[in-house]
């Protein structure tokens, strides 16, 4: 039998429900806050175990608190995800059918692109040809805003990418649906959308931008870890989170 949850676990889980996703630093702060609020034993290095206790109870409900890396800043995040797809889960009321169709078309565009982004122009174009019900330009912009607000998409200068929360929840689905297009990162082996690619046509491996930064840090002659060819891209700096305290 899985151990029962204390109030501290329940408060942690409720905060995950409200936020959907939180970064590692916030998760650690939340862990401490929940334990202290309810007088539960707190050990700063036991966050993973704390979450495992919750996950054991969530599993029969097809829910899970998952750990993953952001393609953008390379930091660790925790997300509460749904794992079931049934007649019941499809009754979810957050988005209408045509809004979901727009989201899936956006996913298609993002996965098909070289750099893991889709321009708002391209997304607006496919809003015109939705099978369920067309969306007007203003409606489309409104839906895209909501998708960003709800943390399913990221937006930067009019370009949209899949959020960390989205990739963490849908990784399996993305691998299955786009098995011919999608590649995994040569370094961390997760789905790679926002990434750099080896230009050797017989190689063509992909590496996440933050993984590139870490892997090539301090190397003067960056070479592809698979084929040894010169790595022709700009090597970004390793992202440092603004010191949280």
């Amino acid at each position: 039998m899985a151990p029962p949850l204390g109030e501290s676990h329940k408060r942690f889980l409720q905060t995950m429900m409200v936020n959907g996703i939180i970064d590692g630093a916030k998760a650690r702060a939340l862990h401490r806050h929940c334990c202290e609020t309810h007088g539960a034993h707190y050990a700063h290095d036991k966050l993973d175990e704390f979450i495992e206790v919750i996950n054991a109870q969530l599993q029969p409900m097809f829910m899970q608190i998952r750990k993953g890396m952001s393609e953008e800043d390379g930091l660790q995040y925790h997300a509460l995800v749904n794992m079931a797809e049934t007649d019941v889960t499809r009754m979810s009321t957050d988005y209408a059918d045509n809004e979901l169709e727009l989201f899936r078309k956006t996913m298609d565009l993002i996965v098909d692109s070289d750099n893991g982004t889709a321009s708002s122009t391209d997304i607006l174009n496919c809003a015109d040809s939705l099978q369920t019900k067309k969306l007007k330009k203003r409606e489309t912009e409104h839906v895209l805003n909501r998708l960003v607000q709800d943390k399913w998409l990221n937006e930067k200068n009019g370009d949209y990418s899949l959020s960390t929360r989205c990739i963490m929840e849908m990784e399996q689905y993305i691998r299955l649906l786009y098995q011919d297009q999608v590649k995994v990162c040569h370094i961390c082996h997760n789905v790679a959308l926002q990434c750099q690619m080896c230009e050797n046509p017989t190689c063509g491996i992909k590496i996440h931008t933050p993984c590139v930064a870490r892997y090539f840090k301090g190397r003067t002659d960056p070479r592809c870890p698979a084929c040894e060819d010169f790595w022709p891209h700009e090597i970004p700096d390793v992202y440092r989170p603004p010191s949280s305290q």
Binding site: G20, N82, M83, T89, S92, W152, M170, Y173, L177
Partner: protein, 90 residues
């Protein structure tokens, strides 16, 4: 109706919705205009509210509500059909 209301007031402080609104406006961060606005009878006082005015009230009022958090997800909200078989180019 009316009698009951005045009875209620006799028992303690009266509650005046207009005064309540004025206090709320201050709490919301009303930017009162420099020049003294002449308070029109029953009208709103001058000035403008900041963008986050209602957010402020909500943040403070949130602890009065024992609202259950809701669960939101993307995976599972639509039929995850696999792609149609690729068209063969003859």
């Amino acid at each position: 109706g009316k009698e009951k209301a005045s009875q209620l007031h006799a028992e303690g402080s009266a509650f005046d919705p207009a005064a309540f609104a004025e206090h709320l406006l201050s709490f919301m961060g009303l930017n009162r205009l420099e020049e003294e606005d002449e308070d029109v009878e029953g009208g709103a006082s001058g000035g403008y509210l900041p963008q986050d005015a209602w957010q402020r009230v909500a943040n403070r009022a949130q602890c009065c509500f024992r609202t259950a958090p809701s669960f939101h997800y993307m995976m599972g909200s639509f039929l995850a059909e696999l792609p149609p078989p690729r068209q063969r180019v003859e």
